[in-house]
């Protein structure tokens, strides 16, 4: 078993799944991978079985958060040290995983593959959302996250356990903001991302606006009232209490 698991959630990705997974298998044998088919209506699962991919096949659609959590539960039970969220549509580039892993081993809990560490954020409508979320996180945590909506996030064992076993730990900026406030160590590494080659983005106009409202209210209001399960707090005071 390798130390890092690449989790590839896939929903209706029959056009790209083969290219993406074959690339990971052939060019990056130093990592393990698992495809989580999120109850796709197309032939995603069939293609995975035909190629003999390592596959978790969900019988119903759970949404990205549920599918990714399934992958994390698998990583936790199998005993992986690190796990990374990796898109099935070919947006993410596997060549940056090594860079992120090196950063992780400097002692971080979460490493984000960020498009805007060195590069400037463009002034487009899409990036407006990213800016609003960055500002909301800044206001509540006083820390800067340059690319909060990046889907390429790596977690260490403590984090993947916490994400795997709890409610309200979706792989979204509001969870990141909450954990930052709790003192979790986060770093960003500059990566490049490809535009989607096929399929349509999950976010259309109405969904984007809904998503933005959800994220801003969640980060600015709701996250401030959450209480962390003491089993997951890496705090010396708490360790004393537990003893």
């Amino acid at each position: 078993m390798k130390e890092l698991l690449i989790i590839i959630p896939a929903y209706n990705e029959e056009k790209s799944i083969e290219r993406v997974v074959n690339h990971v298998i052939n060019d990056y044998p130093e990592y393990d991978y698992v495809v989580v088919n999120d109850g796709s209506k197309d032939h995603t699962a069939k293609i995975c079985r035909k190629n003999g991919y390592n596959l978790i096949d969900l019988p119903v659609n759970l949404g990205l958060a549920g599918a990714f959590q399934t992958g994390l539960k698998y990583a936790y039970r199998q005993g992986y040290e690190y796990a990374i969220q990796y898109d099935a549509d070919g947006q993410h580039k596997a060549e940056y995983i090594e860079k992120m892993l090196t950063e992780m081993k400097k002692g971080y809990d979460i490493v984000i593959g960020s498009r805007f560490v060195d590069d400037k954020k463009p002034h487009s409508m899409r990036m407006l959302g990213s800016r609003i979320i960055s500002t909301a996180i800044m206001l509540t945590t006083h820390k800067r996250v340059k690319d909060p909506t990046s889907g390429m996030r790596m977690f260490n064992r403590a984090m993947l356990k916490e994400f795997a076993l709890n409610l309200n730990y979706g792989p979204e900026p509001d969870t990141i903001s909450y954990l930052l406030r709790e003192g979790v160590k986060l770093s960003e590494v500059q990566v490049e991302m490809d535009e989607r080659l096929e399929g349509e983005s999950y976010l259309n106009m109405v969904r984007s606006i809904k998503y933005m409202i959800h994220m801003t209210v969640s980060i600015l209001v709701i996250q401030n009232f959450r209480k962390r399960d003491s089993r997951f707090v890496k705090d010396e005071k708490n360790v004393e209490v537990l003893k």
Partner: protein
């Protein structure tokens, strides 16, 4: 709007808010499901704090009394919520049905396979 009515609105929304945040704190509800009630409570607070808005809206639609406008407004919002919840519950029931069938069918095929295996093993033993 009387002051007592405004106070009732404020108190009710405050309780809604506290109740929801407490649930989130105890990890008893998903954040996306609590969102509606948080925004709902905020709306009630706004209407209670600034009755001018409700007065204005009632005038626009042509409703005689401001309070009636508030009733109508919330009946509509709750109807929409009820509608979307009916859809969601229906989808949930369908998912549970599919899941149950999937588990049962999976077990049935497993059993079937192991049965046929013992059968072939037995028949081979008989041949010898």
């Amino acid at each position: 709007m009387t002051n007592i009515f405004r106070i009732i609105l404020l108190v009710v929304s405050l309780f809604t808010m506290i109740f929801m945040l407490k649930r989130i704190r105890q990890s008893k509800i998903q954040i996306e499901d609590s969102l509606f009630w948080i925004l709902f409570a905020v709306m009630v607070v706004i209407l209670g704090a600034f009755p001018v808005i409700a007065d204005f809206m009632a005038g626009v639609i042509g409703i005689y009394s401001t309070v009636n406008f508030i009733f109508l407004f919330f009946i509509f919002i709750l109807l929409i919520k009820e509608f979307s919840m009916t859809i969601k519950i229906s989808q949930l029931e369908n998912k549970i049905k599919e899941l149950t069938q999937e588990i049962a069918l999976g077990k049935a095929t497993e059993q079937h396979e192991s049965n046929s295996k013992t059968y072939t093993a037995d028949s081979e033993a008989e041949k010898r």
